[in-house]
């Protein structure tokens, strides 16, 4: 029953006040209270939440939870799949969830997606040194190069999830070599010179039909190209771009420029929609990629008269290292998690031999982070043996010190595209300077 009528003005004032209070609440600094599960009173049950975009839809996550539950019946893990359209979209969601106090206990801010250090700086993930010590975990069960990625300022923040040696190889269609009567180098050898690779790129090229070599102009490939020529894209500290300072880096990019712009035997940036699909169709002889691409190419070949998987590794550097960029992911525990011990046990469970093995085979990830898993993978598919040399003698990735990872990768991708674009060529020196200047501008930004 209405006691008295409500005027239009009064109603709007009321609505406005409600909306304003909502706005003020939204603008308030996030409290950051985690959504971490708690113990149900009196039952001894521990509830944890696992937020991840790795594995949903494959059954891997469910299998891990089920097998964990067999060992720890009192721990309930709720799996919340993150299903953004790309991996990077999910980090945004995770930041928003954290700001809203709704981020789960077990999460991942991968170093090679440049979110790891930011998540540490913002106190989203917790150091796990004490947990490791209390458990007596043997950290040598993972390759050291992937463990190194888990540290920041002397503290350990996670255990390895995925990992590989980056764009360290030429995924090769051996059929083209057979047809040309060219003997392929051993798939684990590092004795093919870049001059030879360049010659092959030119000789296998057929206008409108086939590319001898394809390179995606991304940070992943540009870094390794610089490393092949005994240089790097940025320094180890992640504060300085090396392109203008180091003649070797310029030689590397000149090598690409000659093929892409001068001889025009590489596809223009963005012109080939899908390199792996085109290679399966027999339209690409060598595609710069990584071990996972070799494995997938080998797996996806339908007609061996059109394609046969091989890999050609880049020449050994003067310092004896193999050109590569060790990249990897992590599993972390939320800072403020109420049950870090149980969460840590779950981390161990998903990064164990079984967890890592099924992460490869069930979840379809490239997780070459454990020597024992590599042996198991080799037993199942000998092609994995090809990936061992670069895993064991690879070079770690360098990240911008200011955690401006996405700005950095965008700057590299867009400005290297301009440098290597044959449709509107720029002078090499000018393109190189622009690329350097814009990468350095990102490295000079204040921390994210």
């Amino acid at each position: 029953m209405m006691a008295k009528s409500l005027s239009r003005r009064g109603f709007l004032q009321l609505s406005g006040a409600l909306a304003a209070s909502g706005v003020l609440a939204a603008c308030a600094a996030p409290v950051g209270a985690p959504a971490t599960g708690g113990a149900s009173a009196g039952t001894g049950q521990v509830n944890l939440i696992w937020d991840t975009f790795r594995g949903p839809g494959t059954g891997w996550n469910e299998e891990r939870i089920e097998t964990f539950k067999e060992r720890y019946p009192n721990v309930n893990i709720e799996f919340r799949p993150l299903t953004g359209s790309s991996q990077q979209d999910n980090y945004g969601k995770m930041y928003a969830m954290h700001a809203a106090g709704d981020l789960g206990d077990i999460i991942a801010f991968d170093p090679s997606h440049f979110h790891f250090w930011r998540a540490i700086d913002k106190k989203i993930i917790m150091p796990i040194d004490d947990l490791v010590e209390a458990d007596g975990t043997d950290l040598s069960q993972w390759y050291d190069q992937f463990m190194v990625l888990q540290y920041h300022q002397g503290k350990l923040y996670g255990l390895p999830s995925w990992g590989w040696a980056g764009f360290d190889t030429l995924v090769t269609n051996a059929v083209h070599f057979d047809e040309a009567g060219i003997a392929l180098p051993e798939p684990t050898a590092h004795d093919t010179s870049m001059d030879t690779v360049g010659e092959w790129a030119r000789s296998f090229y057929r206008e409108g039909e086939r590319f001898g070599l394809t390179i995606g102009y991304s940070e992943a490939s540009i870094v390794v190209l610089c490393r092949i020529f005994n240089s790097d894209l940025i320094n180890e500290d992640g504060t300085r771009c090396l392109l203008l300072d180091d003649p070797n880096a310029q030689t590397a990019l000149r090598w690409v420029y000659d093929l892409a712009v001068v001889d025009r035997v590489l596809p223009a940036p963005g012109s080939v929609e899908n390199f792996p699909a085109a290679q399966l169709d027999g339209r690409i002889t060598m595609n710069m990629g990584g071990s996972l691409n070799v494995r997938n190419y080998h797996r996806d070949i339908k007609d061996e008269t059109v394609g046969r998987a091989w890999q050609i590794l880049f020449p050994t550097r003067e310092d004896g290292r193999f050109p590569s960029q060790i990249r990897g992911g992590t599993w972390n525990i939320l800072n403020g998690c109420k049950h870090p011990t149980e969460a840590y046990q779950f981390l161990l469970h998903i990064t164990s031999t079984d967890g890592c093995y099924s992460f490869n085979l069930v979840a379809g990830q490239g997780a070459f982070v454990r020597p024992d898993v590599m042996q198991k993978l080799i037993e199942g598919n000998p092609i994995h043996e090809w990936f061992l040399p670069n895993l064991e003698n690879g070079i770690p990735a360098h990240a911008p010190a200011n955690s401006r990872g996405r700005e950095y990768t965008d700057a590299v991708a867009q400005w290297s595209t301009l440098l290597f674009d044959p449709t509107q060529p720029v002078d090499f020196e000018k393109g190189l300077e622009d690329l350097h200047k814009n990468i350095q501008a990102v490295l000079d930004m204040e921390p994210a």
């Binding site: 409500l6 609505s15 909502g22 600094a29 223009a268 963005g270 012109s271 867009q414 301009l418 674009d421």
Partner: protein
């Protein structure tokens, strides 16, 4: 002795008292039914809008509290952001070419599909179908078709003797025209065409009959009857078309992610990058507010210009 104000207040109170219970109830239910919309309007539009205005004067990365920096984001936009002006220019280029082509194309198609010919319903359905395809799916489809080296379109062009077909999404000169083509494919036969068809069917036959009696041929009838009476529809479609084109994002994001070499780095993409990729939420809010002001200003200009060329039949 009563003052004028007291007298007026007394009249208002008296007027309220005169409200019958039925009218009060009606009043109550009116507001009750308005409530969901008002909550949505204030909570999801006005509230976030005002919040973003505040954030545009701050440095804000979502994870830490906003830090007030005054107009620095706006100064940065105009003076220190190398990508801002080029992205604004690209956005206007895309809208400036795409919208007129879209409006004219939709109008011509609507005129053709308004003819009394056999199977017209089939043709209307056929032309409308592309607009039903989800944008992302159509972009992916067109990326395959327009693949520079191995796409169907360029293979056909090569077979027709074109030795060096365009690099649709790989050549910086072609990237925006390719996105415009994609938009036209999905848009010409879409909602704009339906609105034009509705407009055409609102034109009285008597005007065509009178024009025919005066000796006007088909083209003259279009020129002197159809187009003048369609001007409100043309205006409506143009305004919405420009607003939509200026906000273009998804096609460029999916097809090229701003490349090659920033060729399709539109302002909406620039805003998105800063907001959700670089976590410069305050700066993104400033960009968004500037962009919103530009769109509103353009719309007001169009509204004012419309008085010169839009003809409302019967007024």
């Amino acid at each position: 002795m009563t003052t004028l104000a007291q007298e007026q207040q007394g009249q208002v109170v008296a007027a309220r008292r005169r409200w019958s219970p039925a009218r009060r109830r009606e009043n109550f239910y009116g507001y009750l039914f308005l409530t969901p919309w008002l909550l949505g309007f204030f909570g999801l539009f006005v509230g976030p809008g005002l919040a973003s205005l505040y954030l545009s004067f701050t440095k804000y990365d979502v994870l830490t509290a906003p830090q007030w920096i005054g107009v620095d984001n706006y100064v940065r936009m105009f003076t220190r952001d190398d990508l801002f002006w080029p992205s604004l220019w690209r956005t206007f280029y895309f809208a400036g070419v795409g919208v007129p082509l879209g409006v004219i194309g939709s109008m011509i198609l609507a005129i053709l599909l308004n003819m009394k010919i056999r199977g017209v319903a089939f043709y209307r359905t056929l032309y409308f179908m592309p607009s039903l395809v989800p944008l992302v799916a159509s972009v992916v489809l067109w990326k395959w078709l327009l693949d520079t080296d191995f796409g169907v379109v360029n293979q056909l062009l090569r077979e027709m003797g074109v030795s060096n077909p365009p690099g649709w999404f790989s050549d910086r000169r072609w990237a925006i025209p390719s996105l415009i083509s994609l938009r036209l494919w999905a848009g010409i036969g879409g909602t704009q065409m339906i609105i034009f068809l509705a407009g055409l069917q609102g034109i009285p036959d008597s005007l065509y009959d009178a024009a025919s009696i005066d000796g006007a041929n088909a083209l003259q009838r279009i020129r002197h009857v159809t187009i003048p009476l369609l001007t409100p529809t043309i205006f409506f479609n143009t305004v919405l078309g420009i607003i939509g084109a200026l906000q273009t994002f998804a096609a460029a994001f999916v097809a090229t992610e701003g490349g090659p070499g920033f060729a399709t780095w539109f302002l909406a993409l620039h805003i998105w990058k800063h907001a959700f990729d670089y976590w410069n939420m305050g700066y993104a809010a400033a960009l968004a507010w500037f962009f919103a002001i530009v769109i509103v200003a353009l719309t007001i200009i169009q509204m004012n210009l419309s008085k010169r060329w839009v003809f409302y039949y019967g007024e």
